[in-house]
Amino acid sequence: MDLFEYQGKQLFARHGIPVPSGEVAETPEAARSAAERIGGKVVVKAQVQVGGRGKAGGIKLADTPAEAEEHARAILGMDIKGHTVHTVWIEAASAIVKEYYASITFDRGEKKPLVMLSAMGGVDIEEVAASNPEALARLHVDPLTGFQAHHARWLVSNAKIDVGAQKGVVAILQQLYAAFIDLDAMLVEINPLIWTESGDVVALDAKVTIDNNALYRHSDLAEMQQSVTEDEQERMAQERGVTYVKLDGDVGILGNGAGLVMSTLDVVALAGGRPANFLDAGGGSQADEVVTALEVLLSDTKVKSLLINIFGGITRCDEVAKGLLTALDKMNATLPIVVRLDGTNEEEGRKIIAEQAPDNVVVEQTMLSAAQRAVELAKGA
């Protein structure tokens, strides 16, 4: 679960990490009064979960509350890379001397948290990492003994942080690690981390990703979760707890298990087709869950044909077949549907379809032939 900048900053503030004072606004008028309360120059920042909002015009400096209102009016409703701006964050403008970069992520390869720090922040840090790897100090942390003051000192020394800012950065790195642990975060990132004219070190941005698996022990964070999805099917899937990602093709795909679904996508592409989506109905799919998943898929008008590829382990093929019939009945769908059922109760499943399914449903014996058929049908439609 990705948080918005303003949510991340609120969490940072709770963990003692200095952030500029600010307020959320959802209307130009609210932006104006927020600017009045904050006082002085403010920055109006679009709240979207996508990079590059600065270049897209989503971040503006305002000298007066009136100007803040004006900027908010321009930014609210703006489309930034497919994301509509519904909220702006108004915060006190900072007098920046220097921009740094700091982050903590999971390094899956090392199986340890990785802390990264650079004196070259405020820019594309991936570019820095590629072209000037020395400029990005990296340190892995033992999860059992944790991040310690000497780690912070080593990072600051090796990232060549300016002497006057070192103490502040050392403190923030320790607080950031505490936040990373306390929040069950997969990522905490500050870019830029700024050194101000008054000598403070302040988080000017905040990118926080929370581990969905850990939300059960963070009721306050779970409340922050809100749909940021513009796509109708993705929103439906999210609400129903189904893993769904929209793609730009026309062969709708439903499978059980992420690996098998990915493989199905690949096989459809090999057969010359273009997958319309990724939809994993999950491990233990019961008939109800299959209905839910199909409702998401069938509501997408771009889908020309549908490929249902199931290998039953925990999942039972007869349940899938029943779910399919129920969904077709409910949605009154007429597009061509290719079904491949294998594994637990495969015979029963095939039998249900053969006997009860309408003519637009065809059964194929293998994954490969099913993919070829679905691609053909999409092209013919």
Binding site: P143, D184, A258, A269, F278
Partner: protein, 289 residues
Amino acid sequence: MAILVDGNTKLVVQGITGREGTFHALRNRAYGTNVVAGVTPGKAGQDVEGIPVFDTVRDAVEGTGANTAMVFVPPRFATDAIYEALESGVDLVVCITEGIPAHDMLRIYTHLKRGDQTLIGPNCPGVISPGKGTVGIMPTQVFNPGRVGLVSRSGTLTYQISKELALLGIGQSTVVGIGGDPIVGSSFIDILSRFEADDETDLVVMVGEIGGNEEEKAAEYISQNMSTPVVSYIAGFQAPPGKQMGHAGAIITGSSGTAQGKKEALEAKGVRVGTNPTEVAELVRDALS
């Protein structure tokens, strides 16, 4: 031989009195696995169709000599259950549970690697040594005894490839689902090294997917340390970058995590990579002939 699970396996099932726990404990027993005990706190003294239930894993191990534990408890209790299994002294823990917080797994992993016990999973379908025993939830009818080892991050894809092998008359020594989470107890390399040492395994199929760099590391390991041939499959060529794909494990982390990158890394080390499950089975047949 086979690896991890065989005729010597004595299994204790944690969460045995739950619906799924009971179902799979009995299925594993029906397949021939020696299921010696179950654990559900507060239910010591009961039994599940003859399998005695204990309050704690330690009591179960002391009472029955169990050497393998299967974790079948809900995610918010699974971290505790894994630690409990490890402390009880069993050699192998297989964790089926999906949804364990990643920070918990980081700590478990670090702790685990300081000892000499083995954890398979979490979020995995388990292990089957066809004809010898199974610990987990795999549909046993897909597998046949044979001399091909299989290790996979994906459950259903494991079944798919095993089915393709079966169509060509090829069976397996052992099939291991290592799980799709970002942090799992055993990596490809851990399992490959066991297959390399197993004299009943003539070839290994490694089934990877996008995300992480375990396949790249395995490629290096294979070229340096393995005489047993390896055939591979990678899923996710069409997966959109940066999107989460069911498994948290399927997040692409940098270019090293792409399917294409993994395929090239493997091929650069001489590992044949099939483009679809059917072709993987054919490559295996050709390599064995």
